[in-house]
């Protein structure tokens, strides 16, 4: 081919390319309205029973892989353009590779579930019917997320088959709150672990005013009065329930801090649950009561540069009566530039372990007694992989137990399948929490 032909062919190449670009652009332009209408029609058909909106838009997410199981997120809008909520497309994969593909609808600001719907395109579907999903939806829709499923209200026998938190060391473990309540009481919980099981639990409180009796004594004597059963009785019932179920998560604390599954307990149990978790954590790290109190005393000594005896922080019972109200940074974690990055507890402060006290997740144990971290959720390529449905950790689907807002009954007699559905909702919550920087 000579130069003339090559030049001719080159011109033809350029002309054809330009014509192609022009024709394609033109047809894309004239078909864009049809395309938008078709897409919105598809969206409405799929999403209307989950979150009804005037129109929907897909949200482009760069780090979708960080939320394994999340296939897509869409936002619903009113006619005036104000956001109504979100629809998440989630694929849950079970440990035997069954799949459950769900759409969940969540309100924009209330973190309430607006709807649940299944997409029947799974390669190996979980054997759960639409009626069963409707049962869960009827319990969960309108409630705040994240969710969890109540265990059946039955008594656990403390034998070898009792569900225990793994990795507990034997001994007596203790935790107390940093600041007193409105009545001046500093709550504490003490647990005793024998052969890896919790065998004794005590929840009481001593007063910052040392001349006032402990709360149990005050309740028994009538000096401390609450509605419902006597506080001492309720404390006893709750402690007994924890011994039976071995895991504070199974006390099914609701969003208002109460529980409905422990007979006779009407008080808020959030403080008890928080302290129980701290005791369990201390047991995992073999940080017994003696070490705890010594550590706490050393922290206080560090603040005042004086020894505990001189400071007079011990009462007659050996409790450390001290409020950190005026020393909010006593348990702060600092970075290299001396900025506060979080807060720890006594164990974290004494042993240098990074503990996020809000989420109670242990990230870098440096001493003996490495916890047996049985995660509930194990991410996989194509979905959230449930693995063993294990509720014995202090987080559920990667969400701290304390953040769980609603406990549902689920499908009667089928905790496992109910759990799959709840996981899909919780994956959506985790994403939206990060995306919107939002606490439900």
């Amino acid at each position: 081919m000579d130069r003339k032909i090559i030049r001719k062919l080159s011109i033809e190449l350029v002309v054809i390319t330009l014509i192609s670009v022009f024709v394609l652009s033109f047809f894309y332009l004239i078909s864009s309205d049809d395309s938008k209408e078709r897409v919105q029609q598809n969206y409405s058909e799929l999403f209307a029973n989950v979150l009804e909106a005037s129109y929907y838009e897909e949200i482009e997410i760069d780090n979708l892989d960080d939320y394994s199981g999340l296939l897509g997120v869409y936002e619903g809008f009113n006619e005036d353009g104000s956001p109504l909520g979100f629809i998440t497309d989630v694929l849950v994969v079970t440990d035997n590779n069954e799949e459950l593909h769900l759409l969940t609808g969540i309100t924009y600001d209330g973190a309430e579930l607006t709807g649940l719907s299944r997409i029947h395109d799974e390669r190996n579907p979980v054997a759960i019917s639409d009626q069963q999903i409707a049962v869960i939806a009827s319990q969960a829709v309108g409630s705040q997320i994240p969710l969890y499923v109540n265990h059946p209200n039955e008594t656990f026998d403390l034998d070898s088959s009792s569900p225990r938190i793994p990795g507990l060391h034997d001994g007596i473990f203790y935790a107390q709150v940093k600041e007193p309540d409105n009545n001046g009481y500093i709550d504490y919980v003490e647990i005793e672990v024998t052969n890896g099981s919790i065998t004794r639990v005590q929840w009481d409180a001593f007063n910052i005013e040392r001349n006032i009796k402990d709360r149990i004594d005050a309740a028994i004597s009538g000096a401390y009065v609450i509605s419902g059963e006597n506080w001492a009785t309720q404390s006893y019932n709750l402690c007994h329930a924890l011994i039976n179920c071995q895991d504070p998560a199974r006390l099914a604390m609701k969003s208002d801090g109460t529980t409905s599954i422990v007979d006779g307990v009407t008080i808020e149990i959030s403080t008890f649950v928080q302290l129980a978790y701290e005791c369990i954590n201390n047991s995992i790290y073999d940080f017994n009561e003696e070490e705890y109190k010594a550590g706490l005393a050393s922290i206080i000594s560090g603040i005042f540069n004086s020894d505990p005896e001189t400071l007079g922080i011990y009462d007659d019972e050996g409790n450390i009566v001290f409020s950190f109200e005026d020393y909010p940074n006593a348990f702060a974690i600092y970075d290299e530039e001396n900025n506060i990055t979080g807060y720890t507890n006594v164990l974290g402060k004494v042993r240098g372990i990074v503990i996020d006290t809000e989420n109670m997740n242990i990230s870098s144990p440096q001493t003996t007694g490495t916890p047996n971290d049985s995660s509930v959720v194990d991410g996989a390529e194509d979905g959230v992989n449930i693995g063993d449905v294990d509720t014995s950790s202090d987080n559920i689907d990667g969400i701290p137990v304390a953040e769980i807002r609603t406990y549902i009954d689920g499908i009667e007699g089928d905790f496992v399948r109910s759990r799959y559905v709840v996981t899909a909702v919780n994956v959506s919550y985790r994403f939206l929490k990060d995306y919107l920087n939002w606490m439900a």
Binding site: M1, I5, L9, E12, L13, I16, T17, I19, S20, V21, V23, L24, F27, Y28, I30, S31, D34, S35, R38, V39, Q41, N42, L46, L71, G72, D89, L91, H101, L103, I119, D121, E381, D382, G383
Partner: protein, 322 residues
């Protein structure tokens, strides 16, 4: 006998390389569509396939001591073959799968049947059908055109991820004609935009480097066969089917080749009819790619048989007797 030297007394610019370059230019509209609709992964697939196809041809020719430099002959067919192969791939195809198809086409189907210029099959089609048989689950997802322009991970990893909910029961009846013409329906990366394929056809006709008989026969009889097979669905369904099935791509680029289609008029028509019937039946009872590739390979097989019994020594004997 070296290629390109059968009639040394005829001097024309319309040589095989010239025709193939025209063919390459005609592929540009489909390449533009592929890149605009499917982004980086389409561009990489096309470039990779073209390069690999050419590379294998060069290596084989070097091994056979027929180096390009010595003969100063390179007909660009390997480049166009690589591009056509890529245009028949789904957008989430990985490079490894593409490489297997190119390797099989270039080394097995091409060289075993005589090499450049003498093979009876359209090589990219044969390679594409082979990988469909070997890796069916990796070639069955179709991304929405215009989405994920910068997506590239599917090139490197198995893209066997869960499909978008909008692929579930994807029904082309929901699309308007304009959308289908514009290539908005998810398909193989180069076959989706009929309007640009028509631009290519016009260019090929104007440059007089294509056989139109088989193309026209094939298109017409696909329409007729579709009307028969999909009678219950109606004529609008058939028209939409014509736009999304890839039949235009087959007709323009795969049934217009000089070496693999019949030289005679009647041969071309009959090949077109048979291929059309095979296409429609395969589409109904198998998959789209089996329909596309199967109909082309049937046409290829028929063409030399048709030409042998219509032309060749029969005609020559008649002329000698006269």
């Amino acid at each position: 006998m070296r290629p390109g030297k059968f009639a040394p007394f005829i001097h024309t610019s319309i040589t095989t390389p010239y025709i193939n370059v025209k063919y390459l230019i005609a592929l540009i509209p489909c390449v533009v569509y592929a890149i605009v609709s499917y982004g980086i992964r389409a561009l990489v697939l096309i470039a990779f396939s073209a390069f690999l196809s050419t590379f294998f041809d060069v290596v084989v020719e070097a091994i056979k001591n027929q180096s390009i430099k010595t003969n100063k002959y390179f007909d660009y067919a390997s480049i166009s073959g690589g591009i056509v192969f890529a245009l028949l791939l789904p957008p989430d195809c990985s490079l490894i799968v593409a490489a297997v198809g190119i390797l099989a086409g270039s080394l097995v189907f091409k060289q075993l049947f005589g090499g450049a210029g003498t093979n009876i099959f359209v090589i990219p089609v044969a390679g594409r059908l082979l990988i469909e048989a070997l890796f069916p689950s990796q070639l069955d997802t179709f991304a929405t055109p215009g989405s994920a322009f910068f997506e590239y991970r599917s090139l490197l990893f198995d893209s066997n991820t869960h499909e978008s909910i909008f692929q579930v029961g994807h029904d082309f009846k929901e699309y308007s004609f304009v959308e289908l013409l514009a290539g908005r329906y998810p398909s193989f990366i180069g076959t989706g935009c009929v309007i640009l394929i028509i631009v290519s056809l016009v260019y090929l006709i104007m440059s007089k480097t294509t056989r139109i008989t088989t193309t026209a026969s094939y298109l017409f009889f696909v329409f007729v066969a579709s009307l028969v097979v999909f009678w219950d669905e109606g004529i609008l369904y058939v028209c939409s089917f014509m736009l999304i099935s890839g039949v235009f791509f087959v007709a323009v680029f795969l049934l217009s080749d000089y070496t693999t289609t019949s030289n005679s008029f009647y041969g071309s028509v009959i090949s077109g009819i048979v291929s059309a019937v095979v296409f429609v039946l395969c589409f109904k009872y198998s998959s789209s790619i089996v329909a596309i590739c199967g109909s082309v390979l049937v046409c290829n097989l028929m063409s030399f048989i048709m030409d042998y019994y219509k032309l060749g020594h029969v005609t020559l004997v008649e002329e000698v007797e006269e």
